[in-house]
């Protein structure tokens, strides 16, 4: 397509037609996709966006890595609507997550952001042969009527999921729309209907948190009774796991599902522990996110924002400085 505005719109159209729809971009392209992401939320169309995060702002370090776009991925799109953001920690995870995110886009009919970064997307590794057949492909079957009839795509369903209707397949006549609407899919600003539709869409958040398995929300490594938990997300995972070998007794909580946020699981794993957050941005975005959803205050945050990934040695260094009482640890190694 000619630009990212077109790519995401075409993916939305393909999703409406019934295809598995996905597109990929990095920060600048994601900015252009913002308006349509919001439309996916309102119109209830499922598209996977794979985000190859790089070092910004603006053109920034266009071929270098960063984890600056966590907040951007979480909050992109005007208005409020359910969205899934899943961050893979390594290439093997990314492989299986690609299938899972497509399943979720089909099922929940929401925008799904598969958040990886330049470091992960651009790395060649030797990995065990994956088994794609081990992840079940799940997609709701479309409704097909005996005879052509008008249908309500936006029926006020209990679980919040829209009725799956496909043009040319369902024998259904229905309207898809970006405006607030009635069940038929036509604009409706009636106060009561607005609230009902809003509630219906937002019910999908509870459903996702209920249905998405824990291993896709968070993963714990190291002793469960560790006093200190390193908390991180995305492609710091292999380096942190390598560092844990030198840091006996330390645990690692990997955040995977970032929206909707699995507050219960995070609270359960972090209860009573000291926390050291490590990530590739200036603000310590995941530490702020955890505080927002759980009230848990980070004991220390190690950040890196020079366009280079966090190394295993830096994880060890961060831990030592944390033990020495530093609250904000700035990592700056070149590679």
């Amino acid at each position: 397509m000619e630009d990212e505005l077109a790519s995401i719109a075409a993916a939305a159209g393909a999703a409406m037609a019934g295809a598995r729809a996905a597109t990929a971009t990095s920060g600048p392209g994601l900015s252009l996709m913002a308006e349509t992401i919001s439309m996916l939320g309102m119109a209830e169309l499922g598209v996977v966006l794979t985000i190859w995060a790089r070092a910004g702002p603006s053109t920034g370090l266009a071929t270098r890595t960063a984890q600056q776009d966590l907040f951007y991925s979480l909050f992109i799109g005007h208005g409020e609507f359910p969205k899934i953001v899943l961050a893979s920690g390594d290439i093997e995870e990314a492989f299986y997550d690609a299938i899972k995110t497509a399943n979720w886009a089909d099922k929940y009919q929401v925008p799904v952001i598969h958040l990886v970064d330049k470091d992960l997307s651009n790395t060649f590794v030797m990995m065990p042969l994956p088994d794609p057949y081990s992840v079940r492909i799940e997609r709701p079957r479309p409704v097909v009527f005996q005879e052509e009839k008008n249908a309500n795509r936006y029926e006020l369903t209990e679980d919040g999921l829209p009725v799956r209707l496909l043009p040319g397949v369902s024998k259904a006549v229905y309207h898809v729309v970006s405006l607030e609407h009635d069940p038929e899919g036509d604009p409706d600003e009636d106060a009561e209907m607005v609230k009902k539709m809003y509630d219906k869409r937002m019910r999908k958040i509870d459903l996702m948190l209920k249905e998405i398995p824990e291993e896709d929300k968070v993963r714990w490594y190291g002793p469960r009774d560790a006093e200190v938990a390193i908390v991180s997300w995305g492609t710091t995972k292999p380096q942190i796991l390598a560092a844990l070998e030198e840091l006996p007794g330390v645990g690692f909580l990997q955040l995977r599902l970032l929206a909707p946020f699995p507050a219960e699981e995070v609270k359960r794993y972090l209860a009573g522990k000291k926390t050291l957050f490590i990530e590739g941005n200036y603000m310590g975005q995941s530490a702020l996110l955890v505080r927002m959803y759980t009230g848990i205050e980070a004991d220390a945050v190690a950040v890196k924002y020079n366009g280079r990934p966090v190394t295993a040695d830096e994880v060890v260094e961060a831990f030592k400085r944390f033990k020495a009482g530093e609250k904000r640890i700035e990592l700056d190694w070149d590679l």
Partner: protein, 315 residues
Amino acid sequence: MTVVKVELKRTPQDYKWTKPPEWCPGCGHFGILQALLQVFAELNMEPSRTVLVSGIGCSSRLPHYVRTVSAHTIHGRAVPFALGLKLANPNLEVMVVGGDGDLFAIGGNHILGAGRRNVDFTVVLMDNAVYGLTRGQAGPTLPLGLQPKALNKPNPQADLNPLLVALASGFTFIARSYSYDIRYTAKLIKEAMLHKGSALVQVLSPCVTYNNIMTREWYEKRVYKLEEADPTWDPVVHDEKEDYEKRRRAIEKMLEIERLPLGIFYKNELVPTFEERYAQMYDPNYLKFPPALQPIEKDGKSVIDFYRLMADRIL
């Protein structure tokens, strides 16, 4: 397009949706809506297989008044949304409706992209030269120096010519009509739908509320029909050798501004559609099993032979 034979014969009434239009009384868009209902009935289109796609604007509300599947999307993105739909399932009849602002200002880049592909779909441009939904600001087809009532100064920007843009970008069917002439509009939209390839029909459609200059009287003094003025007018490219000459003549007619020609300016079915190119260049089964219709799993297991696909990367 593919014409599917069905026993049921539908009437224009059968294509009316459950809710009536909410346009100003006398709006030119009523004529286009009426013409569409008529064409759909004449072609006996299946409402569940026909998809109207629009962006934002008065004209983009049209799909809510029609009994077909539709998507009322966001400002400027109707064309790429429609292309995604059509390419995911080329068995669908896909039509974009929208205004001059939606299709040629905010969405102009997508017209350029669409022409290069020649996907088999139809764009109906409901052109009133103003942004009626937001109270009459200047649209991209408002001529330089005009001052409709919402503008506090004359328009300092020149108008663009959608027909020339469509020709330059590769649309293979280009026509212009006038919305109060419902029968003629229906005739041209029908031709556009039957055309194999990307079709643009510009319908001059007076905005009775905000465009107090380009009114019914203004248009009716200027419009004339190409085939009435010149009975030998033949816009069809019958042979590739004719293409240059047909384009040159079309451009000449498109450039007329004192009087506004209506009719078909250019039609060329010798250019392969994107669907044909894709089937020929990438996947011979594309038209039979397009992405929206091909099975991807059996009992939850992918039907793709992953290990064959990745053979050159497996050690």
